[in-house]
Symmetry: C2
Subunit: 238 residues, 2 copies
DNA sequence: TCAAATAACTTGTATTTACAAGTAAAAATT
DNA sequence: AATTTTTACTTGTAAATACAAGTTATTTGA
């Protein structure tokens, strides 16, 4: 796929182990090889191995026990958009389709935006888009995205259908999500939202307001997500 | 307060810096002292300092920038029960009162519990309690807690009014929450829930189902939380 | 046989050292 | 004066080492 960039060793091992867990090579409750064994297996030193394991533990893939080892913890297969960092989203990309409602357009920022904006962001204007995301052809997320228009040439003319916005940003602009914050509310569905999510008006909808930090200083992604949680739950770790 | 246990250096520095940020000694956007300076200030080595900073970054108190430094990031003062680890909860304890609805009782587990249970947990039975938590005298959380009855002598006879369950577990049983997972849904308020949260029946309520891991192997805390998000949002980092 | 002590593992904490890579300010050059 | 280069400072990555502390299986002792 992408270019084989020189990624750090600890990140490499993280990806390997995460993949192994995803593929079921290590199952729920299994013990990962000990840190010492991993050192020998992959030719790294313990601090490096430990850094990989720390990240895995942080992401909830393993639970570390002093004196015992690192126990694999398979996360329930629920909708996991709460974890966007790393290479893959927690929800399988296979069954998740994207339908564009409003193609990316450059507009001024809303007057009372949900997050405070820097002056640079305000001047740059806002790339706005609306997407509907369907899980097994059932609409689950109604997603409004906002990005400051800084160093993103030709982004409004790119193909977004069935492709992750994050993937496009990473592949074409080397932008990676490093983390973020969010507010969560339960609100009644408006007429517009209920239409998109196939709900009755007034039915409970989960509303997320998210601000995502990137490796590009000063560049943030914002999104307002309305989520139909009738059949699926949002899953998260803390 | 509690006994001065020998806490690790990196944890000590974490608490110090977090306190300084909380107290406003470092404000939004400020640069923390460099890692080298922190080493000298607190007589630690860089890996130790870095461990503290990594935890702070993970908890969202700082954002690290290679070549620049660690920038303080003040989190919005919203309801932050999503972060329970560490010593203090993200929501100020001052304004949050607790009212017991059902005093702790030992009962068998529900047949279809929201999380799978180990055989040990099933045998031990379940300490059950219901609490209402009020922010500025407005009911915000309706909280049902479940704990497996393992090595928790006399817990059903303890005072829980206006005291954190976590604090009691830590002070009397040396149990600390290390992390956990949760499912989030938006549901219509039932008659019972709407009564407690001062809402109309059918109004949207945030429902959290949480499983919390402790430093005590095999001991988990479970809670089902119904949250009135009309005025406040749940805040979280990812 | 059973229980306690031991040994052999595991992860946790911490130091020391070294260099790479990114940032920003100072200095040199044009 | 404006631009480029250098320098100094920042965090990122990585190795080698040591001991502490928790867990588990084995060995030892009664």
């Amino acid at each position: 796929m992408g270019p084989v960039r020189n990624i750090p060793q600890h990140k490499r091992l993280y990806e390997i182990l995460r993949k192994h867990i995803d593929e079921g090579i290590y199952g729920e409750g299994d013990l990962l090889p000990s840190e010492h064994e991993l050192c020998q297996l992959y030719g790294m030193t313990r601090p490096t191995v430990r850094q990989s394991l720390a990240t895995l533990a942080n992401d909830g893939f393993i639970i570390k026990h002093q004196g015992k080892g690192s126990i694999v913890h398979i996360l329930p297969r629920e909708i996991g958009i709460l974890s966007v960092s790393g290479t893959t989203s927690a929800v399988g990309d296979r069954n998740l389709k994207t339908r564009i409602i409003v193609r990316p357009v450059l507009i001024p920022w809303e007057k009372d935006f949900m997050f405070p904006l820097s002056s640079l962001e305000k001047e740059s204007g806002c790339i706005y888009m609306e997407r509907l995301r369907l899980l097994n052809d059932v609409p689950i997320f109604y997603d409004i995205s906002y990005i400051a228009n800084v160093n993103l040439p030709r982004i409004t003319s790119r193909q977004f259908e069935n492709r992750s916005l994050f993937k496009i940003l990473r592949d074409h602009y080397h932008i990676e999500i490093k983390g973020g914050e969010q507010r969560i509310k339960a609100i009644p569905a408006s007429a517009r939202i209920s239409g998109f999510l196939h709900l009755k008006k007034g039915q409970p909808v989960l509303h997320l307001e998210r601000k995502m930090e990137t490796n590009n200083t000063g560049l943030f992604l914002y999104s307002s997500i309305f989520c139909n949680t009738e059949k699926y739950s949002i899953f998260g770790r803390f």
